[in-house]
């Protein structure tokens, strides 16, 4: 039989669409046009009317209010601190960076606090919004019975999924980018540099992609949007709270109990659960950034957690002085508590933004100084030399790049899987010329039915003699049984 693929000549509808099909770009062109077609359609619906602009306005107002709140809070605190001499003079409040005795680093502290606050709030927003925008993408098409119209077109399902994902992400990215001017306020306060802000946005963008793909995957996996949304947010909770809880539980359970002895702190070896447990937890990446951008070169609570997660040793004091890292030999660290008297020099950790400050180091105190490049302690206690300085800080980029890599790879993977789940007839076939292997494998056990079923289930009426179906083509039947 000859193909009659060419369109019949038509009276009104002009245009050789047929040629367009096989025209420019080949497979990639088809894929890309699918992305733009679906993306344009989705964006059109999303950005229509005032809704999008109202949402952005409210979002920015909330973020501004939040930042202003942080600023006001810290200002009040510093005024109080300045008014109460006992805090000013006697007590070392240096472990809260910026609450220094002279109040000199207050500005940088405000900058850091606003940066940290915005980072956490935006992480939370992206964590909620990105999956919420995508968790209905495919299932809504099913519910509204529009999916058949799409699947019956030559649209590639990967292009379709990617188009929907990109349009949802465009909206999330727009929200993230809209916060850039606000976040730049931190530059006015100082303490946080543009490169820190860029790191923060890298996490947010990767997070949006990963979580968007997660919602898309759930949407393609189950039939109903409601189920997809619930599953998505369960997964989000598992990735954030769940992963932290499991990590902590693992650490506590597996850490051996150590005892300290006479004046020397015994160097215990706390167990370190696999760091990969937290690779999809954006908050740990946030903590990494918050830790390493603190005016003191480190921030105790977040750094403590990140150090524990990544196994990064760190040592820090309290008095921030300088934001530049001196070119020193890296990888030397101190462990343990030193006694009274004397200072010791500790090199800056690799890639850390350090503060140089003299830290009173005890001569004759206890502790171990390690050089990471050489195995074993290089200085045995009590050898800390009096009169030397310790450099403070925490190595940068120990954790958050893992977040970014994690989100991006999970996003790519889930997008690919989603495109396979959109429609049963649109799955990749390993052997393209034969019926889908998925289908064949499933139908194989049912093969005996192929011969017996028609006679059984259908009354052998056939009075009209018109029914010839049970006599399937032998080729077809053998294929069913194979």
């Amino acid at each position: 039989m000859t193909a009659t693929a060419a369109p019949a000549p038509t009276r009104r509808v002009r245009g050789a669409v047929w040629r367009a099909g096989g025209r420019v770009g080949g497979r990639f062109g088809g894929f890309w046009s699918s992305v733009t077609a679906v993306g344009a359609k989705e964006l059109r619906g999303r950005m229509r009317g005032r809704r999008a602009f109202v949402v952005i306005t409210i979002y920015l107002l909330l973020l501004s209010g939040f930042s202003f709140g942080i600023y006001e809070y810290l200002r009040q605190q510093s005024i109080q601190a300045a008014q109460i001499p006992i805090f000013n003079g006697g007590v070392d409040v240096g472990f809260q960076p910026g609450m220094s005795t002279q109040g000199m680093a207050l500005s940088a502290t405000v900058g850091h606090a606003i940066f940290s606050g915005l980072l956490l709030v935006e992480t939370l927003l992206v964590l909620v919004l990105a999956p919420a925008f995508t968790s209905g993408a495919i299932s809504l098409e099913r519910e509204k019975q529009t999916i058949d119209l799409l699947v019956a077109t030559p649209l590639s399902t990967f292009g379709m999924v990617l188009g929907k994902l990109l349009s949802a992400l465009t909206w999330v990215f727009l929200l993230i980018l809209a916060s850039v001017p606000l976040a730049s306020i931190v530059f006015a306060f100082g303490g946080v540099g543009p490169e820190d802000l860029l790191r923060g946005y890298a996490i947010l963008f990767a997070l949006a992609f990963g979580m968007g793909a997660l919602g898309m995957f759930m949407s393609a996996l189950v039939r109903r949007t409601q189920t997809a949304t619930v599953l998505t947010f369960v997964a989000v909770l598992v990735l954030t709270l769940g992963s932290m809880a499991v990590h902590e539980f693992w650490r506590v359970v597996t850490t051996p109990v150590t005892t300290s002895t006479n004046g020397f702190v015994s160097v215990s070896a706390p167990s370190r659960p696999p760091e990969a447990l937290l690779w999809l937890n954006p908050f740990v990446g946030d903590m990494d950034l918050i830790c390493t951008t603190a005016p003191g070169g480190y921030e105790s609570r977040t750094c403590g957690y990140v150090a524990q997660v990544t196994g990064t040793p760190y040592f820090g004091g309290s008095t921030p002085v300088d934001n530049s890292c001196p070119p020193m030999k890296c990888g030397v660290r101190l462990e343990g508590a030193f006694g009274v008297g004397g200072d010791v020099t500790v090199a800056c950790p690799p890639n850390a933004r350090c503060a140089m400050a003299p830290v009173p180091m005890p001569a004759g105190g206890g502790g171990v100084v390690f050089d990471d490049s050489n195995p074993g302690p290089i200085i045995q206690p009590p050898v800390a030399t009096p009169g030397t300085t310790a450099t403070l800080g925490f190595p940068r980029d120990t954790f958050w790049p893992h977040n970014v890599v994690g989100f991006v790879s999970v996003g790519v993977l889930l997008t690919l899987v989603s495109s396979q789940l959109v429609a049963p007839t649109r799955r990749l076939r390993l052997v393209p010329s034969r019926p889908g292997f998925l289908r064949r494998r499933r139908s194989a056990p049912a093969a005996p039915l192929a011969t017996s079923l028609p006679e059984e289930t259908i009354p052998a009426s056939d009075a009209s003699g018109t029914y010839t179906a049970p006599d399937l083509d032998p080729a077809v039947r053998s294929e069913e049984q194979s």
Binding site: M1, T2, A3, T4, A5, A8, T10, R11, R12, V13, R14, G15, V17, W18, A20, G21, R23, G30, T36, A37, A40, K41, R44, G45, G49, K144, Q145, T146, D148, L149, L150, V151, A152, T153, P154, L155, P424, T425, P435, A446, L449, L453, P454, T457, I458, P459, S461, D462, A463, S464, G465, T466, Y467, T468, A469, P470, D471, L472, D473, V476
Partner: protein, 331 residues
């Protein structure tokens, strides 16, 4: 006439249920082919298999020489599919709807604009161009859906219950539209359980029930083979006794298998024989002095045919009619 679409043992099995049990259909180019059957006969499943939305369990179908199983992406370019139930997107204007589908078929931007205008004019929605799709009436949405199936100028159209849920006026308009499409040279496979709408439209039909093709072929051919007479309603004027006399007359005639007196001077007659003998019967009745005001088929021909064929299928004990056989699949 070359064949635009044919199926060979097309089968779809869901668990132990056979939704479609080996359809052998053949649709010539330029035909309007009606798939007639009650709900659950397998019409929608068949059309979905043809539209590459469902993978057949067995058998295959060819559209324009492409195999549904092996060349689904080629199939998608040569068919325009209109599902029986379909949704519309919110927040989308009529022209955007068509523009979107035109993009799906990779129609260049410069051609889309012109084509959308033409299509909207064709389906009589030119004035609704900037309206939101969800604000259109049901009939308009049906026409828009039909227009969407035409954006890539497919030679074959698969229309699943295109007239369901339409008011009579919209149905007539749809029929006109389908005629117009046929005049453009499209091959149309249309499914329906509303028979009168197909009767005036189709060149060929397949009568299906419970997953099987009971009869298929050109409409008149099927009719000639399967029809065992028809039911006619006669309206006789006069007093009650005149009507009773008329009924007595009809009952005594050889062409009349049954006669039943309805109210208001109407008599329902079950007739056997050809149209010619029916005409003779009417002529004799009028010569006999019966005042026949109307004498018309009680149901449409296709409806009657459908009822007869499916009834026969329901009662397996019926003696097989040697004159009946399916039209062989055209090579």
């Amino acid at each position: 006439m070359s064949v635009a679409l044919r199926t060979e043992g097309l089968t779809k099995r869901y668990g132990r249920t056979l939704a479609v049990a080996g359809f052998d259909l053949s649709v010539g180019e330029g035909e309007i082919f009606g798939l007639v059957g009650p709900n659950g006969a397998g019409k929608t499943t068949t059309l979905k298999m043809l539209a590459t939305l469902i993978v057949p369990s067995a058998g295959d179908a060819e559209i324009c020489g492409f195999s549904v199983r092996r060349q689904p992406s080629e199939i998608r370019r040569v068919i325009g599919y209109m599902p029986d139930t379909f949704g519309v997107y919110d927040d989308m204007r009529v022209w955007e709807y068509l523009d979107f589908f035109a993009r799906c078929y990779r129609i260049p931007a410069r051609r889309r604009r012109q084509m959308i205008g033409d299509l909207l004019e064709l389906v009589d929605l030119g004035e609704k161009r900037n309206d939101y799709v969800q604000a259109l009436s049901r009939g308009m949405q049906q026409r828009l859906c039909l227009a969407h199936a035409l954006v890539h100028e497919p030679p074959v159209l698969l229309l699943d219950e295109p007239a369901s849920g339409l008011d009579p006026r919209a149905r007539v308009e749809l029929r006109e539209l389908l005629r117009e499409l046929r005049a453009m040279g499209k091959t149309i496979l249309i499914s329906s359980h509303i028979l009168p709408e197909l009767e005036e439209l189709c060149t060929s039909v397949a009568i299906v029930d419970r997953g099987r093709v009971l009869a298929s072929g050109p409409l008149d051919e099927v009719h000639a083979r399967f029809s065992r007479g028809s039911v006619v309603k006669a309206h006789v004027l006069g007093e009650t006794e005149d009507v009773a006399r008329a009924q007595g007359f009809f009952a005594s005639q050889p062409e009349v298998a049954s006669s039943e007196l309805l109210t208001d001077g109407r008599i329902e007659l079950g007739l056997v024989g050809s149209d010619a003998s029916t005409a003779d019967l009417l002529a004799r009745a009028i010569r006999g002095g019966h005042r026949v005001a109307s004498f018309a088929p009680a149901t449409s021909d296709l409806e009657e045919l459908f009822l007869q064929i499916t009834a026969r299928n329901d009662a397996p004990s019926d003696s097989p009619d040697p004159g009946l056989e399916t039209r062989e699949v055209a090579a």
